[in-house]
Assembly symmetry: C2
Homo-oligomer: 517 residues x 2
């Protein structure tokens, strides 16, 4: 008997009907109330035309409604596809066009883009998530819940598609990662078997739920019948107040969030006594930041996870005992940890051959958490998956005790504040400026964002372009978080390799030397 | 992608090829060695005729070979059926006849019964587990491993049958419980998600591996790539020496074993510092014994599990924090805990209607850990399973926080030293004695065995029978552990209800009053 992702909700509603399930600001929903709203919203989705496998797109800030949409889409037999609202309108429309959802649920703030998506023909039905639609074109979320009868759970499971998460691509074309019920259930097992379920979970969701790690955590916490505490967006002060008010026991932060928390003057005094676990990941954690956090929150267990959207996402975990066992010999704090319960890790050379222990090469991940494939992209899927092994594009090695160390990223990706930025996508945009002759985009270390997008630009002979011109040009077509935070305009040509590839490592090195000089 | 039970072995062999997998006395096998022996033993099983779904019966004391047989049977595509060697020869033969195994692997001590099984026609191939066969009729275990080439894993999974565990029946007819790969994988998830896998497991197997709880624990520890430490049989002194010698971190004891451990004079001094978890179950734990154990081993986390063979077996778990939170208000130490991660619990009245919280009735269990059914017994299966709910035959209630309290057993079962004894089976045997007019068998509280089998016998008018006669009569046809440890011969007829049912509760009460008087 395979289990679907709605099983946890059915179980929690039976186990704890009158206990709180979701706290969102002043609103508290019990498991019975939450399950009832989900079953009625699923009824509305079906009435609006959702059939098995149809997509329900979500373009909204975090709220209890995000959770309801996740579960209602699956309950109705559909697929949830959450969209990054930080993207530009053009990027959002490209994702919606690719996903072809039957329904788009959007906040009022995104009404214009929702109407544009419907006009483009890719989305028949629109629902306004957070109150009456200003234009009146969108259906009212609370109205359709009130008017709908609950329907039976479709009980989709196993290899049935559950979620479509978009990752950036080098060309800017959206790439949907297809995760099945079994994929995400495997992630739940990987996560919960690591942390143990002996303690009740009160989980703070303050990272954007359109990202895989935050999104699928909804299913893990629900399976354990834990309590969801939702913040619309991350703010350090709000996070601390919410942790204290609701006795939150577990939260996930990317390095940028953790930095902001520690920068608040009162965190030391408050101490966050209820908090027992902080999980972190999604970006390389600066070691100094981690050590400071461990020192200032000594009662908190820090747990790292490493993975990617394509692995649902957890592939390895570094446990809290490993954090404490760190020493000069093992350098555990620099490790991404050991394979998750249901995961296998291998290291391959450039020909795909698996290397023995200690060998450095591309990190491969295998197991039931590896995606079904890329949505409508069979070639990209074939390129990424070999004999069930997912090619991460990261470079690393395994030590004799089975710990993974990530040493570099094969794919040219900058991770800034937890968001992936493909250098090539930004380079393509900059190169489209008429005054630009050559450019290179890479990450520079940044205490707040982990990495910040940096561009080096060589103008065409005789042309003149400023850093501000380059940034404005980018902002016109791609998301703000992808735009360079710093631009160097230089006269001399970029250094290239024998095969005429720009030597970014050399540029990065020169930048670091100039900064520390 | 569904996972089979051999996945954990493949994963462990990749992750930790040169780390110890099994310690059995002076012998240590690495994961690579263990996996290689399993693949070759599976090759031998196939050469001897095992096809998909065929049974491999195991009649042996615990050893590294028990582990190998479990995994090799599944690797070969077959089904492992471990047999309780404490049963009488007749009972063992009845189980083998019912299971119709293609192969029987037996210790030399059980050679006679193995040969009888083959003569009966139900077992084509015999393998001698622990050295050369005295008679020469059985194949040599080490010889066939040495002579066989390894084969590829069959990778059976999901609803494929994995294990056939026999439970006693009221009539003495064997009843095989069919557990699938998915059933036992769900148990692994239930177990590991409760205890967490952040710490490496070094697991002592000292209970008989033919019982479901000990048997399926092999798969859980393997999935976590933990280390198996095997004792041929339980002895308190050996258990303590082995825990100390191998730095065992986790062990499972039934109450009888725990009593024996605490009765050793040196346990307090030794302290068993490596031991971090004791799981217990399979029989009601006397509260005084548990409190003493918690007091004398304060660094050990005690975890209770409740369930039955038909639920693979874990249905609920009482965590170590719950043990410490026990007080007069909640009586947590008397609870069987909360539903396991993938389990649902309901309470039903006599008509099968589910009762609200607090109502007392039959305990039902639902989830992916519930058996496929009874082997070749569709009526018994239909009787036990209703809409996916397993009827446990136990009576209990759920409190408002979701904790289960077991108050009585509907089925007339005595649990003595971790073994289930069906009263009716023993009554049938006693009633077949020519001098017996009436009899009743029930459990009496026993500090060592938890419960001890007690019989009350009324002789036929004019006939004369002694307690010793009754015990000897039982020993001739059923296992020693089922035979009465005490017999009361009484002249007056047994008290009966209006429907002529013997009132055992009245007899038990009278016995307790007489003993405490």
């Amino acid at each position: 008997m395979e289990l679907g992702l709605t099983y946890g909700l059915r179980r929690a509603a039976r186990l704890r009907p009158y206990s709180p399930a979701v706290i969102d600001g002043a609103l508290t929903l019990t498991w019975a109330e939450f399950a009832s709203r989900v079953a009625r919203l699923a009824g509305a989705f079906c009435a609006l035309g959702v059939r098995k496998g149809d997509r329900v797109a979500l373009l909204a800030m975090n709220s209890h409604r995000s959770l309801e949409c996740y579960f209602a889409a699956l309950h109705a037999g559909g697929v949830i596809t959450p969209i990054n609202h930080r993207l530009s309108a053009g990027e959002i429309l490209a994702q919606i066009e690719d996903a072809e959802p039957a329904i788009l649920v959007a906040d009022r703030a995104f009404e214009t883009v929702a109407i544009a998506a419907q006009a483009g023909g890719s989305t028949p039905a629109l629902i306004c998530c957070d109150g009456p639609s200003p234009s009146g074109f969108l259906l009212d979320y609370e109205g359709i819940i009130a008017d709908s009868a609950p329907i039976e759970d479709s009980e989709r499971r196993g290899d049935d598609l559950a979620c479509l998460f978009y990752t950036g691509g080098t060309t800017g074309a959206p790439k949907g990662v297809m995760l099945s019920h079994a994929n995400i259930m495997a992630n739940t097992v990987n996560f919960l078997s690591h942390i143990g379920t002996d303690e009740d979970l009160v989980h703070l969701h303050c990272g954007p739920l359109f990202h895989v790690a935050a999104g699928v955590r909804l299913f893990s916490v629900t399976q354990a019948a834990g309590l969801h505490v939702v913040l619309p967006r991350f703010s350090a002060a709000e996070a601390i107040a919410t942790i204290e008010r609701n006795s939150v026991t577990i939260a996930t932060f990317v390095p940028t969030m953790l930095r902001a928390l520690l920068d608040l003057p009162d965190i030391g005094a408050a101490g966050l006594p209820s908090l027992r676990i902080i999980t972190y990941g999604a970006a390389p954690m600066p070691e100094a930041l981690l050590r400071e956090a461990m020192r200032r929150l000594p009662h908190v267990r820090f747990i790292q996870s490493y993975g990617m959207t394509e692995t649902s996402p957890i592939a390895t975990m570094l446990g809290w005992r490993d954090h404490l066992a760190d020493d000069q010999r093992n350098n555990r704090l620099r490790s991404a940890g050991k394979p998750a319960l249901l995961a296998e890790i291998a290291i391959a050379d450039q020909t795909g051959m698996h290397l023995p222990t200690g060998g450095t090469g591309e990190i491969l991940v295998r197991g039931p958490m590896v995606m079904l494939g890329y949505w409508r992209k069979p070639e990209a899927t074939q390129e990424a998956l070999r004999d069930g092994w997912m090619r991460t594009g990261d470079v690393g090695y395994l030590d004799a005790e089975g710990y993974l160390y990530v040493v570099d990223r094969l794919k040219d990706v900058i991770i800034s504040g937890g968001e992936n930025v493909h250098s090539q996508e930004v380079e393509n945009v900059i190169a489209s400026h008429p005054a630009v002759h050559q450019c290179a985009v890479f990450g520079r270390p940044d205490p707040r964002w982990g990495e910040a997008v940096h561009a080096v630009v060589v103008p065409r002979p005789g042309a003149c372009v400023s850093a501000a011109d380059i940034v404005a040009h980018c902002k016109a077509s791609i998301a703000g978080f992808k735009c360079p935070r710093s631009v160097e305009i230089r006269a001399e040509p970029l250094p290239v390799s024998g095969t005429n590839k720009v030597l970014k490592a050399k540029l990065r090195e020169a930048l670091l030397q100039a900064e520390t000089a």
